[in-house]
């Protein structure tokens, strides 16, 4: 087995090793003292299982598998976002282009390793060209709101999401062939940080960060980010960052993700929905599941690029 393959196997065994006790714990608490909190916990663990299995399958397929997995997740997230965004008939062509041209091209550029183009395609080309397509239909009603919400959807659901597989394109000395492990590292620390934020928030949470939006607390978040840092340090062997660097990157990703999740919660509340969709049973939508990873990915990518890519 190549070193990277054995690392992947080790990682998957580790994930299963964490998930089995977490699952058993959930089952025990659910039978002893059932309630909504333990139900939320259990559905989260279940979706974690699904993510680990999907991720493992994608890793088996290699780079293409990872690209396809995140392109699919991006499509599902964009669909949820644009279902709720402000739009009229005149936006139809621009929206169709967002789904069927911008999204596939963005992931294609990453697959081809065209990093220069992938970094500007949505913030420059889609940003400038899609409103031109819209304006040709001549409907001025709430024009800025419509084009802005479409662009926001593309930035979050496609541009940010594409930075996860883009980690595979980072050329770090002596690390290039292992870069797929950075994706595992990012998702691991962000999701575990979220899980522990939820747990600590319920246990020690006193001061809500945004009481009118979300039950998230400062206590839960600080302890969640600290735990993510510890976990990041422990998984430093996956990364080229070293132990301290890995802990710092994990804390950065986790904190960005938590605030990002809060941002998307504000949008959901404004649109009058509790979840983005119903597509993941008992869990809401893809966007509910991915929100923190989406916000964390571009910053994680750029800081890694800034410090470790010569």
């Amino acid at each position: 087995m190549t070193p990277i393959a054995s690392d992947i196997v080790l990682l998957l065994l580790g994930a299963v090793g964490i998930l089995v006790p977490l699952t058993i714990l959930g089952e025990i608490v659910a039978t002893r003292s059932p309630g909504p909190v333990v139900e939320t916990y259990r559905t989260r663990v279940h979706s974690w299982w699904a993510m680990v299995i999907l991720f493992a399958l994608a890793l088996l397929l290699g780079r293409t598998g990872i690209l396809l997995l995140f392109a699919f997740a991006s499509f599902a997230a964009l669909r949820e976002f644009l279902t709720l965004s402000t739009k009229v008939k005149a936006d139809h062509l621009a929206l169709a282009l967002a789904f069927f041209a911008v999204l596939p091209l963005q992931f294609l550029f990453i697959g081809l390793g065209w990093t220069g183009l992938f970094a500007v395609f949505i913030p420059v080309y889609a940003f400038l060209l899609l409103p031109m397509v819209t304006v040709l239909r001549g409907d001025k009603n709430r024009f800025l709101i419509r084009v802005a919400e479409t662009q926001w959807g593309l930035m979050i659901c496609v541009y940010c999401a594409s930075h996860v597989p883009a980690l595979m394109t980072l050329e770090i000395d002596g690390y290039t062939d292992r870069s797929v492990l950075l994706i595992a590292f990012l998702i691991l620390v962000v999701q575990l940080g979220d899980l522990l934020d939820f747990y600590f928030g319920r246990k020690f949470g006193r001061h809500k960060i945004a009481p009118r939006l979300s039950p998230k607390t400062w206590e839960g978040m600080v302890l969640g980010v600290a735990s993510a840092a510890v976990i990041g340090g422990a998984f430093a062997w996956l990364t080229p960052f070293g132990i301290v660097g890995a802990a710092a990157m994990a804390a950065l990703a986790s904190a960005t993700g938590m605030f990002g999740s809060l941002v998307l919660t504000a949008i959901k509340r404004d649109k009058g929905v509790h979840d983005w969709s119903h597509l993941i049973p008992g869990q809401g939508g893809f966007l509910d599941q991915l929100d923190s990873v989406l916000f964390a990915a571009p910053i994680f990518y750029h800081v890694a690029h800034l410090i470790w890519v010569a």
């Binding site: 499509f75 669909r79 949820e80 644009l82 279902t83 402000t86 739009k87 008939k89 139809h92 062509l93 929206l95 169709a96 789904f99 069927f100 404004d270 649109k271 009058g272 969709s277 119903h278 597509l279």
Partner: protein
């Protein structure tokens, strides 16, 4: 109405599944049963009408057992236009086809609808009569719903709101957008004894409009 040719019946069955799958793939429709349950009772689902996809979408989200016994009321001039549509209309959806052009009618459309109810079928109808292309939530209802409720007072009249479908495929567009749509089934209503046509239709229209999702971004801001 049901065709006796077994091959045609099989083809209709397969086509029905294909349509359901296609509808689910495009729009991921979600049924929200709000004030009523998906149980197999005789019902008339009356829905808003903004897109040609409305009827297949409602039909698709009904549980299979209920779908088999539910017939849409649809326009003959649309569904008999070519052999393919006629196959879909007659054999797949088993639509109660009525002619919107009085000069072509050979039988009374209301009598056909009542006959379908007499046979025990549930129905899907669009009481606005035409697709709503205006900015108003609903067009004024035609009298049909009232006549149905008078003739079969025991049948549940279930308001059914189809959200988002007109954005997936607006009239005149070619590419459908993969947005999600919801179908909300509300609490059933009945024609009260002695209730006149206009007040019943107003009540039915209000019950249906009440299911429309609130546009929170416009008015709901605090």
């Amino acid at each position: 109405m049901t065709n006796t040719n077994p091959f045609r019946r099989l083809a209709a069955h397969v086509a029905g599944h294909a349509i359901t799958l296609f509808a689910r793939g495009i729009a991921a429709p979600r049924a929200i049963w709000q004030g009523t349950e998906p149980v197999d009772r005789q019902r008339v689902y009356f829905a808003n009408h903004t897109s040609n996809g409305d009827m297949p979408m409602i039909w698709s989200v009904l549980p299979a057992a209920m779908r088999r016994n539910t017939r849409p009321v649809a326009a003959a001039d649309y569904w008999l236009k070519n052999p393919l549509r006629a196959f879909a209309g007659r054999d797949v959806f088993r639509a109660v086809l009525i002619d919107r052009r009085p000069e072509n009618r050979t039988e009374d459309p209301m009598a056909k609808i009542i006959a379908a109810l007499d046979e025990g079928s549930s129905l899907i109808i669009f009481p606005e009569g035409n697709r709503n292309m205006t900015d108003d939530l609903l067009l004024p209802f035609k009298a049909g719903l009232y006549n149905i409720g008078k003739a079969h007072p025991q049948v549940d009249l279930v308001p059914t709101w189809v959200a988002n479908l007109n954005e997936i495929m607006p009239k005149g567009e070619v590419i459908p957008l993969p947005l999600m749509c919801t179908i909300t089934f509300g609490a059933p209503i009945h024609v009260d004894p002695g209730e006149d046509k206009d007040s019943f239709l107003a009540r039915a229209s209000a019950a249906l409009a009440g299911l429309a999702p609130a546009k929170t971004t416009e008015e709901g801001r605090t």
